[in-house]
Subunit: 171 residues, 4 copies
């Protein structure tokens, strides 16, 4: 029987106690409706496939990703730049207030197995570049910055398939 | 009806979608049997009361805390000093590889609402002092370092009661 | 009398106790001869104009920049990813061992008034993007990554003139 | 000829291009006159012996240390928690704005060869404990917190002698 990587991942997630190595969704605080729709859709799909979302915990793309992930049954983690957990958007289930400001981007990039950029400016660009520097798989959706070594995908399904390939076969 | 803070917490955790603000268990990598037994017991009780464990993700007290928390149905987070998630102890459900070395202690101290020290030397002492600096509630079990402003408790039940008081009434 | 910004800076540096807000030179550890020649030349010119060099303290472009700066009478600072100062290249006068790994890039980008990229890959790109995110002036020499908002200059004199403009008139 | 370690250090500093591995002075923002007098005296003596001061760059003990060091001909470094260099006290010659908040204490403790605590509360205590964790020599003057493994000295001369012993013979 042939199964897709995505289906295999879903099967594993519901039958095994896999490590929940975080998958990151990164993007701007001030986001377009289209960017937010994509982030919410991807966050939801990730939760449905047993994937742990980690993001910056603030507004825009981050809030949409958390909203989708929570709706899909996930426990979205927000790695905040702030000193207190109350600064998290309302959909963050597990707030981690780092108190180190935007330098927390380096920890998001390091700790995630895959980073999916949805839109974004120089803040997102720095996270993408840090991700590449740390040998993470970095993917781009919508109008994320163009960076060498970052595949541009045209759907959240395509992103999920790439994430599954990375988890299952380290592709 | 009078209920204990611990019972109230348990009720809330199972009926409400509370934010899972992390509670930290801190202590040495090379730990005594007694320290590990306490950490495992507290991790288990925390999970049973819906509390999110965050720890350093390494061995000794950290591993015992994760083991208990996972056994109690929790998803223990390990905030690792290392660059890759594989450095986590086997009971960490959500590994967060920070790549910043022992400086990650400052983030553990910042992000946790309460820090419970079980044994420990200068590493644990620095986390306790950072916790106090950040106005966190810091508790000591077993032979944790003596620090002004840190109540010394004689059981995991007493620690859980103090955690519940902090969450419910900010005591 | 008309004077260039560069000449004004030189005058000020030798007659006033200006704050030595760091100027960064960033680039790859494995650098070409051309990149190293530029870094050494710029480091030297910076020292001659009383400017404080801060860099990552390792090899390649960083070492060449320190070599030039020291030869020009400066005290180059190396903000190291490592845990011990001995990891600095031999021309670093003031080693600052951060122990936080490549996350120290965020501190280089934050602490420098101007960042000059000479060549470089994703590591340099992440520092450039962090610099833009923190509203720093970021300049590119030689074959540094192409980034929106980063002027590409064709000589170290041009870079020095831009640095002087930023210091004197916040341009 | 017998010479003291302090005299040997002074000789070396004025005849050799030694690495300026930082020496830290740590203590509270709100300091007593006595604490400030000690910090200023030690900062001055350090400069006279060619030692590089690094401190947190803020007020109280930090400002007094910088004032003395600058008066002695040094270039005091302030490793600031803030995002912009303007937050430094007026005597800081080289401001390094880390933007990571009090987590910068971990970098002060890591980067200094010796840490001298003058007075202080839990913030100073955390730096002292981090210093011990990183195997630094940690010294206490005046009413600094009592910590196992931290010698308590009764004069800045005694502190300088211990610093010289560490630099010259790694004692």
């Amino acid at each position: 029987m042939d199964v897709s990587a995505t289906a295999a991942l879903r099967h594993l997630a519901t039958t095994q106690a896999l490590r929940r190595v975080p998958i990151g969704i990164i993007g701007p605080r001030e986001a377009t409706q289209h960017q937010c729709a994509l982030a919410e859709e991807l966050g939801f799909a990730m939760a449905q496939h047993g994937l742990q979302l980690l993001c910056g915990g603030k507004n825009g793309v981050m809030e949409a990703a958390c909203k989708g992930h929570a709706a899909g049954g996930g426990l979205p983690i927000g790695l905040l730049p702030d000193e207190e957990w109350q600064a998290a958007n309302p959909y963050v289930a597990i707030p981690i207030a780092t108190g180190i400001g935007p330098a927390r981007n380096a920890i998001i990039a390091r700790s995630c197995l895959v980073l999916v950029a949805i839109g974004g400016g120089v803040g997102t660009l720095s996270e993408m570049a840090l991700g590449l520097q740390f040998k993470r798989l970095v993917l781009a959706l919508a109008d994320a910055p163009v960076v060498d070594g970052v595949p541009r995908l045209d759907s959240t399904e395509a992103a999920l398939a790439r994430i599954a390939d990375r988890i299952l076969w380290n592709l």
